[in-house]
Structures are given as structure tokens and as C-alpha cells.
Symmetry: C2
Subunit: 505 residues, 2 copies
């Protein structure tokens, strides 16, 4: 707590700017429960921090098959501790997931989606060990926890659990009943999550819900928030060219001098890749790729424009380490593209000699790791079919396409209760926010918003952090800025949201 | 020696097929020295094997900066042991080399080129540890030494040293004087070897030479040999695309969802690469690349045709793990291309996430490792200039070109004494051979054949092995086939060659 105890005491006293986040919603204020819950949140602070640290120290990494089953057990323990009465492991054709219910005898049900896996990391790139979950003073930001998964998504999820614990510690019942569905394969594209949600008993329980949220750190570094009304879909796959499958080139690496006599699977892959984007290096050139792409509506364009006005382009460029957007597009146009355009991205290339210096080989195999972001009304199935046909038609039918995961785009109406409740909480907390028609990233919301369930779903939460999928990921515990929520204010945000969901018209 | 002692005794007695390789040249027979040298070679066998094993166990790997200086010291020790009177380390702007002379008071001088570095290896791909230099019984082949550098070039070089030692052990003087020039950077393209050769005292001594040979295992698995009248040149380099240099895309990896807004250095590299070869994936498409390419002469075509007749296409395909040559070319045409065509080969690709599974990053940097083989009258300097101009003209001027090494093509006349002496030795040993106009691989012979030295230079030696630059590299010590020379016969081949060089008209 070094350097932050004073702030916390101030926060506790409700006398400083930081306390702004404790302004309750009408439902919460009228319940007469505000003060006792607030006290319970503050009293539970250290325990919540310790819980987050311990969770970070026990990572599940699906891509490396690390702690997949253990991560589910850990999640079940957290759910039980937070008061879920029924907690089950749900087996699938792949990794298991978790299904839990907390029936508080309330009128309404709310769905909660958790992911307990994290992205891979290279510890050498980190300033602090990624699995130590150190509390660090970050200049200009405040006290943060540094660690893989801190912001994506263990920090926000821990705050949500802290909200449940605080309500119970204050001797109160939850104002809504909860259904928790959790998986440990989000970072590889949730290949088995649909199986979890579509188990009949899980599906039946979810059908009772007003909607689903995934706890998320929704504030930017300046405090402004964005509520996403959807997210792009994604396909992650590898394209693998090999002499063996091609029937040309060598089946094992040979000396590079033989290139004058022998075909190269690496050139074959490079030429295949080159057909996937236009000369600008950006626009997907896969045949029929734009067939189902739905242009932005007038409302969506207005929302993007509002978002552009509420963010500072220079800050965004600096944060991303970028001097120019594609095609030197101006700020608004770059954001419209970010929202509306499908992408073909190369995550990684691996062929032949990858160590230092050269090695005179003609490699027998080359791999490209790709991700494709999909916008409505594209689907994974249709897109994959088009990619296969595109490659086959151009003489690359031998190239193996190994899909590791993916899901369709997701959309939720701004009129839904979960979206309106989010706006109410942000408004009361004095947090400026915009509605974003679509997040450029992906999460498996389609499992909820698509058939057969068809309920609203979105990410929600106060607080901030950075470094998802990158080195030095962090989540803010104590915020120096009064405009940005620290852990306790994030927790109170979830408390307010639960009461709002219980009472909103 | 398990399993081979009997063969060695037979060999010693000169009564078996293996002994065919001891048939002396006229000069050697007339010298009256044959029997005593032959006995010394056989007596020195175990020592020579031990010397080769110890050398393999002390690798120099220039690409990894491993034991570069120590390798020079080791080489100097070998030269002194073999009777060189003056042995010097030659410093350069980079790694040092070795210059040694053995003045036997003979009429003629012969140059010897050694490389004491070896290619990198991945021990996990080997059946036997690559640095243990184990003696292994290879079914159908005989006793071999398995290890990195066994055939390229420590085995043949050890046999050459054994020849010098045997002549001395027999109480004889060498029939020719020797100049040894050696380097430890051959596998990275000999970036500093010209500096070694062009040191005034080295150059003056080499100018006295009839020519230069690099000891080499010249026999194929069936015993047939090929004498190369030259070799292609080579350029090894990396093309590196980065957001930093480009001024587009990110300067550090960012989340892959941003692809709709941010350029990708990986796509930039893929598109640059794609301009380097034609649609066939083989023919170089760099502007002006064929400007200086000299077509094969009638004599060269005849030599390639003879080589094609003397080799079995199916054996070659099987050995290389290849079903088809480029463009489905027939055998002869594929060999003509191998001899006559320049190449652009991708040795390796490295970008973004290279580990298992996917990782949703938009990488800030991508690297392609390339080698270009050059044929007469292409030069490194001119080719590099053309590559740079080609990329710049097509919008890829930002891509860094980092050349690690390279050298011009080399050519030697078939009328030179070193080439005629080789033919005489092969003929006497009963080894079928062909003249090859040009090796598709590269060695820095241009340092000798080009200006300012201009003397003949070529690879020479009996014996066989395989796996250069690949796993399980080996050199045959005891041959099951009477058509293929084992270590002692290879050694006697060098003895014969030295006497032939002393007497040939």
C-alpha cells in the first residue's frame, strides 16, 4: 500500500475527488445499504488485491496447454468463495469450462462471462516478472499491479467478485440472481465455449437473463469510457506450405544452392500470402470477402464521430507508437475503418533458419500465423470457405489451413437494459463515455447474442489498465487521477450496476 | 575401430579391392617412396581419426561468434604439427585467419585453402550428438564419423594433413612447397578472407603457386567424382522491415485488432519479397538481374550432359527428398539450370509470434534471410546495387538490407596443372569422374582466381560423406564399397596429388 494509504483513507472518508465514484445510484441509495457496502468494499481491499495477485500467479495459457484443467478448478473456487451456490465444471470436446449460479431469490437474472486464461508472454520483455503480480508505483498513474492477465481480464473480474463479497459482508442479498459461464480458451479463440453455453441446463438458465456482461476496464487513461455495442469476429489460423503436401520442393531442408533446381515452399507461401491483401498492404483481397460486409449505419457513423471527438489523436498515436494511420487517413476516417473494416493480419512468420545470422538452407516448410477480423454480417464458416476457395483457385490448394479458433461478430442494441444500466452508472460516477458501435477486438459475445440464445451482451466496468497481449500489462489499484477509478471504485461501480439492473425499467 | 580392423588389415596388405586406391602415380612410384609412405599412412590412421574427432569437438561457428579466435589458434597448431615452418595469425577488420608456409626446397609451390569454421546445428535433429564425433557403423556405407564439420571440411582437411605427416614419417621431403591460407568465416560468406589473401606477404607467396586447392570429399555414394571448374558466387543478407524505419506501422508490437487502422511491416516485407521472383516462384525478377549472366558455352553444356549421364536421376531425387524439379524440367535441363542460373532463395522468415499457437499481435518488425547465387559474370557489388535499386523503385527503399557475407563467382581453366593433376589421380585410382563447369554451391575461390592474384583454384579429394549444413553430417572413414575411398585411401590420394603436382608438365 506504500504511498497510497493516505489516498485510501481520504477515499474512505468520502471527502476527496476520488470519492466521486461512490455516488450511488438511486436504487442503491434508497436501499439504505450504501454505507455498509461501501465500508465492506474498503475493508475487503487488501483481500481483493491478494486474490488478484494469487490468480495472476496461477496462469492458464491455452496456447501452451498450461494449467487448463487447474485453471477451471481455480475458477470454481473463486465462484464458491463469492457465493455461487451451484458450481460445476462443464466438459467439452476440448478444455472444460465452468457454469455457476447464484440464486438470491431476486426477480431478475444477470449473466456474467469470465475468461480465466491469459495470453502468452516473453518474460525477458518485461520490466517486472509477469507472474509475480507486483504492486508498483507507476509515475503519473498511481499504484498498479503488473502481471500477465492484470487487465485482461483478471483485474476487472476480481473487482466484480469483490462487489459480490462486499454485498454479502454487509449482510445483504444480491439484488439480482447471477449465472456465471467461464472458459479457459478465450485467448485461442474460444473453440469450445459454444459447447459450454449450449449445454441444455446452461442454455435454459441463460435464457432467463436480461443480458450478459464481461467485467472489463472501460476507462481510458484520461478517465473517459466507451461502451461497445458489439465486437468484430475473428478467425485465427496457420497457413502451412510444405514440400511434402505440395509435391514440389524438398520434404526436408536441403542446401540452398539447389534453389536453381528445386522449388521452394517458402516462396510458395510468400506468393500465396501476397494474394490475400491488395497493393496497399491493408485491404483484404480474398475473393468475395466484402460480399457480406454491412456498411456503417448513420447512427453508427455518428457514434464513431462522437468517439473521435472525445479522444485525442496525438495521444492515441503516441500510445500505439504510430506516426501515420493507413493510407494517411485522418483521425475520424481511421476510426471509421477501425470500426467497419475486416482485416487480414500476419501475427507471425516462421520458416527455415530463424536464429542469428544466415544458414544456407532451402527450407521444406514455411508457416504464417494469421488472424482475420470479421464485421457484420460476415461469419466464420462463410469466410473460411471463401479463403479456401480463393487459395485453391490461385494454385495454392496444397497449403494447409489449420484453424485454431474463432467466432462470429457480436452486436447488442443500445436500447437493451444492460447497455442502459451501464450508461446510468457511468453518468452517476461522472465518467464521460461514448457509445462505440463495435470494438475492433473480439470476444465470443456471439455465443450470447447469436442463435439460439439471442440476449444482449457486452463488456462493462470502471477502471483502467494497459498492455493486454503486450509486455508490462497492468491494472490500476489506486489512481492518482480523480477521473480514473481505482480498485475500490471499480468494485463500487459493479455494486451500483447490480442494483441498477435490478431496478431499471 | 569395431568391425573394421579386418578391412584395415586387408587394406594394409594391398590384397583387396580397397587397395586399388593405393596405385601410385608414376612420379610417386618412381620416387621409390611409395611403400614407406603407404605404411606411414596406415600407421597414422588412428592418430588421424583422433585428430579429426578432436577438431570436431572444438567447433568454430562464425554466425554465433563461437570460438572464432580459438579456432584460429587450433588451426595454427594443426599446421605446425603437419610441418609448416612459418605459421602466422593474420588479423583483419573482423575475425583473424591463418597464413602458413612449408618450404621443402622444392621447385614448385602449391596453395592450400582451409576453412576451420562449421555451420550451425540443432542438436535435437541429430541421431548422434553433433559435437561428439562418434565412430558409427552406417549400414551399406561402412564406418563413418558423425559430427558437424565431418565432411565440410574437417574430414578432407584432416586427410590432407595426414598426407603431409605420412610423407614426413616416411623420412621424405614434400615434393612441392606449400602455402596454407585458412579462415574461420567461410560459413558466413568469408567477409574478411580477401583481406587475408591480399596482405602483401601472403599475396607475394601465393603468386608463386601453380594453383590452390581446398581439400574436399569429391566422391558420390557410388564412387563417381566430379571436378568443378568453378563455383557460383553468393550474397547472404537479411531484409528487415520495421515500423521504425518505414515511418508507417507501429514501432513496437500492438494488438492485431488495430490492423484496420495501422499498417503492417510484415505485409510490407511480404510484398517486397514477392517482387523478387517471377510467378513461377523460381526465376529471379530483380530488375537487370540477368544483364551480366553469361550463357553456358558449348563445352560447358557438353560437360553438364556428361555429368547427367554419369548420375542416376532417381538416386538424386531420393537423396534430396524431391519428387519434381522446377517447372517439371527433365534431368538434363534441371542440371543445366543448376549450373547456369542465378537464384534468389529464402533461408528463413522471422516475424512476430513464432512459438506454438497464435498470438494476436500486429508485429512491428519482420525479417527475411536470403541468399543469392551468382553466375559469371555477375558480381556481388553490381548485384547488391541492383537489388537496392529494385526495392527502392518499388516503394521498399525503407527496408534494411544487412549483408553478412558473399563473394563473386570463381572459374578455373580445365587446362591448368591443378585440374589436370586431379584428373590424373582420379584416373589412376580407377575413379570415374566428370568435369563440372560450375558447382551450384559457393566457396571463396574468386579470392584466388580473380584479381589481383589470378591463379587456378578448385576443390579436390577422394572420399565421401554427406549432410553438409544438415543434421547427421558424416565423413566415411572405412568404406564397405571398393569404389569409394576410406580415410587412408583419401590420404594416399593427396600424397599422389602432391607428387603429381611436382612432376606434371
Amino acid at each position: 500500500m506504500t504511498g497510497f494509504s493516505a489516498d485510501r483513507r481520504t477515499f474512505l472518508a468520502g471527502a476527496a475527488a476520488g470519492a466521486a465514484f461512490l455516488r450511488p445510484g438511486a436504487a442503491l441509495a434508497q436501499s439504505g445499504q450504501l454505507e455498509s457496502i461501501r465500508a465492506a468494499v474498503v475493508a475487503g481491499h487488501d483481500e481483493a488485491v491478494g486474490r488478484l495477485q494469487d490468480w495472476i500467479r496461477n496462469p492458464t495459457i491455452a496456447a501452451e496447454k498450461l494449467n487448463v484443467d487447474g485453471g477451471a478448478d481455480y475458477m470454481m473456487g473463486l465462484a464458491r468463495e463469492a457465493g455461487f451456490q451451484k458450481v460445476q465444471k462443464v466438459s467439452t470436446a476440448g478444455a472444460p469450462g465452468v457454469f455457476a449460479t447464484l440464486n438470491a431469490g431476486a426477480k431478475r437474472w444477470l449473466g456474467i462471462y469470465f475468461m480465466y486464461d491469459v495470453k502468452q508472454f516473453d518474460a525477458a520483455e518485461w520490466a517486472h516478472p509477469p507472474l509475480e503480480a507486483r504492486l508498483v508505483d507507476r509515475p503519473g498513474t498511481g499504484q498498479v499491479i503488473v502481471g500477465r492477465g492484470a487487465v485482461n481480464q483478471k483485474g476487472p473480474q476480481t473487482a466484480f467478485l469483490a462487489a459480490l463479497l462486499a454485498i454479502r459482508a454487509a449482510g445483504r442479498k444480491l439484488p439480482v440472481n447471477l449465472v456465471l459461464v467461464a472458459e479457459g480458451e478465450e485467448e485461442i479463440g474460444s473453440p469450445h465455449f459454444p459447447q459450454i453455453v449450449q449445454r441444455p441446463d446452461v442454455l435454459a438458465t441463460l435464457k432467463k437473463c436480461q443480458g450478459v456482461i464481461i467485467p472489463s476496464a472501460g476507462q481510458g487513461p484520461n478517465g473517459a469510457a466507451s461502451i461497445s455495442l458489439g465486437a468484430k469476429g475473428v478467425i485465427e489460423l496457420e497457413l502451412i506450405a510444405s514440400g511434402e503436401k505440395w509435391g514440389r520442393g524438398p520434404v526436408r531442408d536441403v542446401h540452398s544452392s539447389l534453389k536453381a533446381q528445386i522449388d521452394s515452399p517458402v516462396w510458395h507461401l510468400v506468393q500465396a500470402l501476397n494474394t490475400l491483401v491488395a497493393a496497399d498492404g491493408n485491404t483484404p483481397a480474398i475473393e468475395g470477402w466484402f460480399e457480406k460486409v454491412r456498411p456503417l449505419t448513420l447512427r453508427e457513423r455518428a457514434l464513431v464521430a462522437e468517439g473521435a471527438r472525445n479522444r485525442v489523436e496525438a495521444d492515441s498515436k503516441r500510445a500505439l507508437g504510430v506516426q501515420r494511420w493507413i493510407d494517411d487517413a485522418p483521425w475520424l476516417e481511421s476510426l471509421e475503418r477501425l470500426t467497419s473494416q475486416p482485416t487480414v493480419n500476419i501475427q507471425g512468420l516462421v520458416a527455415g533458419h530463424t536464429g542469428p545470422g544466415g544458414k544456407t538452407v532451402l527450407p521444406s516448410r514455411a508457416t504464417a500465423k494469421l488472424d482475420f477480423r470479421l464485421v457484420p454480417n460476415m461469419t466464420v464458416e462463410d469466410s473460411l470457405t471463401k479463403l479456401k476457395a480463393h487459395l485453391a483457385k490461385r494454385g495454392f490448394g496444397d497449403i494447409d489451413i489449420t484453424m485454431s479458433g474463432g467466432y462470429d461478430p457480436t452486436e447488442t442494441s443500445e436500447d437493451s437494459r444492460v447497455v442502459r444500466a451501464q450508461q446510468a452508472v457511468f453518468t452517476r460516477a461522472g465518467i464521460p463515455f461514448t457509445l462505440s458501435p463495435r470494438s475492433p477486438g473480439s470476444w465470443p459475445g456471439f455465443v450470447f447474442t447469436g442463435a439460439p440464445l439471442g440476449i444482449p451482451a457486452g463488456q462493462f466496468g470502471l477502471g483502467t489498465g494497459a498492455g493486454a497481449h503486450a509486455p508490462n500489462e497492468y491494472f490500476v489499484i489506486e489512481s492518482l487521477s480523480p477521473a480514473v477509478a481505482g480498485l475500490d471504485a471499480v468494485t463500487m461501480g459493479y455494486v451500483d450496476f447490480l442494483y441498477e439492473m435490478a431496478s431499471i425499467k
